[in-house]
Amino acid sequence: MSIKVLLPTAFIRHTDGVKKVDSVATNLPGLVDDLGVKFPALGAHIKDEQGKLRPFINVYVNDEDIRFLGGESHTFEDGDEIMLIPSIAGGCV
């Protein structure tokens, strides 16, 4: 079982430019931990003091918001495509 994780440009400075990564995590807390192991700098960026994903980052499972699939308790399936979507504010002065 493996899932595909797509990372936004905003994160690639913490991943040495990697935008796509495979993971064997079965749920969101597992994925957050796995990303922290694969990319320690990214882990520090996206995890809060309790080790949870910061709320300004949304998680989509096959184009559906994980909050509406059960959030942390949702179980990933083989081949799922997971996207992390952070809020960005730029309109540029």
Binding site: D65, S87, I88, A89
Partner: protein, 407 residues
Amino acid sequence: MPTMPDLKEVALPELSNDEISRYSRHLILPEVGFEGQQKLKAAKVLCVGTGGLGAPLAYYLAAAGIGTLGLVDFDVVDASNLQRQIIHSTSTVGQLKVDSAEKKLKDLNPYMNVVKHNVMLRSDNALEIFKDYDIIADGTDNFQTRYLVNDACVLLNKPNAYGSIFRFEGQASVFATEEGPCYRCLYPEPPPPGLVPSCAEGGVLGILPGLVGVIQATEVIKLILGIGEPLVGRLLLVDSLSMSFRTLKLRKNPKCPMCGTHEIKELIDYDQFCGIAPPTTTGPLEVAQHAAVGDVPVQDGIPQITVEELKAKRDRGDDFVLIDVREPHEYRIANLGAPLYPLGEIGSKLNELAQYKDKEVLLHCRSGARSQKAALELKAAGFSNVKNVAGGILAWAEKIDPTMPKY
């Protein structure tokens, strides 16, 4: 399908012969037609920001024949804006952005009204400004104003054509319609301050706001005409490097304190909500956002020193180490000859830096924001005497060495 609430109740404005010629390509489109063009003329759209997103947005809306275009901006045109803000010109550098934008819009289309709001949008003026418009287009550049625009739109029941950008990626949606989600449904909380770099710190591909701003303009036009499927309940992701567009489903959050439970009944203090110091009321946003760094002698336990003090220390031959925490590509543009340790690499290079642990270490970057973060990092790692050069190399170029390029 959201449509303009009261356009049909008022008599639609007539089109002159000149206007009929001008809008001919719209008039022969059945989906727009004569009545559609009249609706565009009757419409009042507010562009919040006339920067990267606001520039193409306002320009195309003016071309399309929007009758009244409001512009909110308190900034002045800077040369570094012109790489993307096509509504401003080399000849208007230094002028108020609303004045500069008005010139170009009126030159393009004299048959429209431009209403200038040369103010910083705040909780105490947003509702008053918004109330006269049918649609709000959010092209701002910071989280505080994003939440402020969203909340004002929900309170006044006005759709928000939303766009935001970062480096090579953009997001667009239509928020705050009656049936659709609002910005808070998508992002209930802003990121912790300092975690997400602004375009001024992170850079942006100049064409990207053109792509995203024109998507916002398209949504505005569709909402006015009541045609097509607006981006209500969908988030469009634009990746200009892979040139891929993808839409994600957005849902209204029943627990959203703004549009779900309605527990927020008025505008709040958005600087506090986003955990930042209130910006000053003058000067470019980029500078205003970091004003606190230069204005206080100590920031979060890090002493701030001015470029004048740095110059004096150098001239006296004081014993200190100056470190540049920018990126290598920035170093090529301008530098002070200091060794380069990019902010993101400091954590992994603490061993190398350990020789300076008990020396006076001065850190600088472009404007003073990244070097402040680096200073905090070094202090936490046990460095005993770390200071931040307020205003960075930009301040150096401004005050010490006018031959140095500013970027």
